[in-house]
Symmetry: C2
């Protein structure tokens, strides 16, 4: 019996698996048939041992002495991360950021497809972005119902993000990606991931200050790696 491993996969590992998958897709396009953990790790910017540990959650998927089959590992990762099926997403708030996301081709290639664009601004409604018409936000519930969207992406102003989130949850959306700078409150069983660009910049500024601004204050800074973490 194959007896698929019931091991649970840490969330940090899942995020890295997605990165490996993208690297593998590029390698496959380049015609490569095999990769070693060292090469893959270098391309993904992680430690080789850590990469092997990550992959081990899926069970053995390489050949000792040889490495990993590029196509084989790609398919295995695709499977583990949710299969090939297209994931319908709705996007609320088609402003500057929302328009950029709706236009972006990189999501579709990974199986994420925007099937509904919603906005409240009459000037925005009706405009076509990325081949899709912007619809009034009042139709949010109808759009989710008719498209069976499972992921909601919020790019509205912060003040209305919670109410938009509540409406998404109320019609069954259980996965939400939030770009507004607020902490959303959701019932158990709903996953929210937040992207906060101001925080990223602030962390960079802090690390820079720590390195140069006030050397006496914070001495034993961890030595930085040669490659991005």
């Amino acid at each position: 019996m194959p007896q698929s491993r019931p091991r649970i996969i840490p969330e940090a590992t899942v995020a890295r698996l997605a990165v490996y998958l993208r690297v593998l897709a590029g390698l496959a396009d380049g015609g490569r048939s095999h990769v070693s953990s060292g090469e893959l790790a270098s391309a993904a910017g992680v430690n080789p041992a850590g990469l092997r540990k990550d992959l081990s959650y899926l069970g053995p998927c390489g050949v000792r002495g040889v490495g990993y089959s590029v196509a084989g590992l790609r398919d295995r990762l695709t499977d583990a991360l949710g299969g090939e099926r297209s994931r319908p997403c709705v996007l609320i708030g088609i402003g500057r950021l929302g328009s950029a996301l709706a236009d972006y081709a990189g999501f579709a290639s990974r199986g994420f497809e925007f099937v509904g664009l919603l906005d409240t601004d009459p000037a925005a409604v009706g405009r076509r972005v990325g081949g899709l018409p912007v619809r009034p936000v009042a139709e949010l519930e109808a759009v989710v119902a008719e498209t069976q969207a499972t992921i909601g992406v919020i790019t509205t102003p912060a003040e209305v993000a919670q109410s938009v989130c509540d409406r998404l949850v109320s019609v069954g959306v259980r996965s939400i990606l939030n770009f507004a700078p607020v902490a959303l409150t959701v019932p158990a069983g709903v996953d929210v991931r937040k992207v906060d660009l101001s925080v990223e910049l602030q962390v960079l500024a802090f690390l820079d200050q720590q390195r140069h601004g006030t050397p006496p204050l914070v001495a034993p800074l961890r030595a930085a790696q040669g490659s991005a973490r």
Copy 2:
């Protein structure tokens, strides 16, 4: 002796401090004079005890039995995160995403100011975005030198991100925020933070599948919190 605490601050804590700071700024605008850790934690979407521990890295900054002074804590956090001084940033790749970032007012209010917009496309060069003209990417080194920019934001296609990064590093930029889906390689002493939206969506899809798609495969999912993590 005051003897400022030489304690090092974990990076995860720094990221949360930035969130607290934003919440406090909103509270100060609302006229509040004091907050408890519980209320602040709820607004930031974290555990109250964790919040107090985070703040304790800055030394005592609250009053027992009362709470934290909104203005006082805001100033203390501002200080810890790098002071009030404006941080000049350059942005490379003024496409859809880059334009949205350049236009965004939320960065300036936190002290991050774009002082240079670079692109290679002749159609983009000369256009004004967010009050700043787009300049040819050939002038990157000159722009960094004349503006003393310390942070570089990369929103170019993935293929050229590494070369853009190398040029930034060569002229002294030691903090880089990367939106391109590649792992940048940098020398020690340079910090790179990566924002990968595809990975965020992929993680959401995985968690969703784990919850419903194949229940027999991964059973003991951690109970989700009532609020965003």
